[in-house]
Amino acid sequence: MAYPFQLGFQDATSPIMEELLHFHDHTLMIVFLISSLVLYIISLMLTTKLTHTSTMDAQEVETIWTILPAIILILIALPSLRILYMMDEINSPSLTVKTMGHQWYWSYEYTDSEDLSFDSYMIPTQELKPGELRLLEVDNRVVLPMEVTIRVLISSEDVLHSWAVPSLGLKTDAIPGRLNQTTLMGTRPGLYYGQCSEICGSNHSFMPIVLELVPLAYFEKWSASML
């Protein structure tokens, strides 16, 4: 989950999120250098007496400041497109989970082998136990096996919602009448929090998502106990 006053990304829990973090570092370094250059040029402008009011052409500098930004954009675009296509790969998922958005809770269905479905409501602040996270805890978490490719099908029963888990790099819109698919692969066990990411009414901020990634054996025990 995020810590207070956090500005950066959460630690990555999936390979895609690791790639996104690295891409962000790469782009941020380029942004930092361009910002340094611009700050330097601004400081130069403040202290120069040089003026040239009859400039007719400046072919050389115009060539440089056309080609250089183009190169910079290509350096940013190539890794970006690589990750974009990587996010669309389907790597033979072993499990399918359906997620339906409602006002204002999520419901989950594991229907691969047995008919298991449950709703996931936020725990109100007054009912939290000590140590639990305000506006993030739910009554029924989404328990999933770790290191397994999972297909998540996302839709909505009423208005637009969005199913988002930042540490896994997931955000997919839940659109009524449409089935969106995303692929999830958690690399470490733990609890991963997310919140609805599309305005959906008065309680839009109060329908969180909690994934509980566990070893496969625990997942099998859990699914047997839920039936």
């Binding site: 956090q6 570092d25 910002s35 130069l44």
Partner: protein
């Protein structure tokens, strides 16, 4: 679930960021790149000034040197870091597969059995870790 930070622990949100955006403490290769860039900037700017005695132009050369050296170190370091991550991932997968599939027909070190109807038990050889 995440525990609240203890009173003695430093707040996690207080990392130092260059220009308020670049977290040099936590981004791999950032600190080294910026330090090498600063060194390159100082060398280039100072060298140019010593050769030409032109202050403004030397400052321009210094800034240009900073950008070029930082970028060069950054790409070089990130390329090596990416290769290292791939090797780590392959090693992790190899260890996992070795543990999971040892003594089964899926054992990655298992040689295919000869066609004489033998028991199929083969001797395992050392797995040469071929990293380049």
């Amino acid at each position: 679930m995440a525990a609240a930070p203890e009173p003695g622990e430093p707040a996690k949100g207080k990392t130092f960021k260059l220009l308020g955006i670049l977290d040099v403490e936590n981004i791999p290769c950032a600190r080294d790149s910026v330090l090498y860039g600063s060194l390159g900037s100082a060398v280039a700017g100072l060298g140019h000034f010593l050769l030409t005695s032109r202050i403004r132009r030397s400052c321009d050369v210094g800034v240009g040197g900073f950008i070029l050296v930082t970028l060069g170190c950054w790409f070089h370091c990130r390329y090596n870091y990416a290769k290292l991550r791939i090797q780590e991932r392959m090693a992790r997968e190899g260890i996992k597969n070795k543990i999971l599939y040892e003594s089964t027909h899926l054992d990655p070190q298992r040689k295919p059995a000869n066609g004489n109807g033998g028991s199929g038990v083969t001797s395992s050889t050392e797995n040469p870790a071929t990293t380049h």
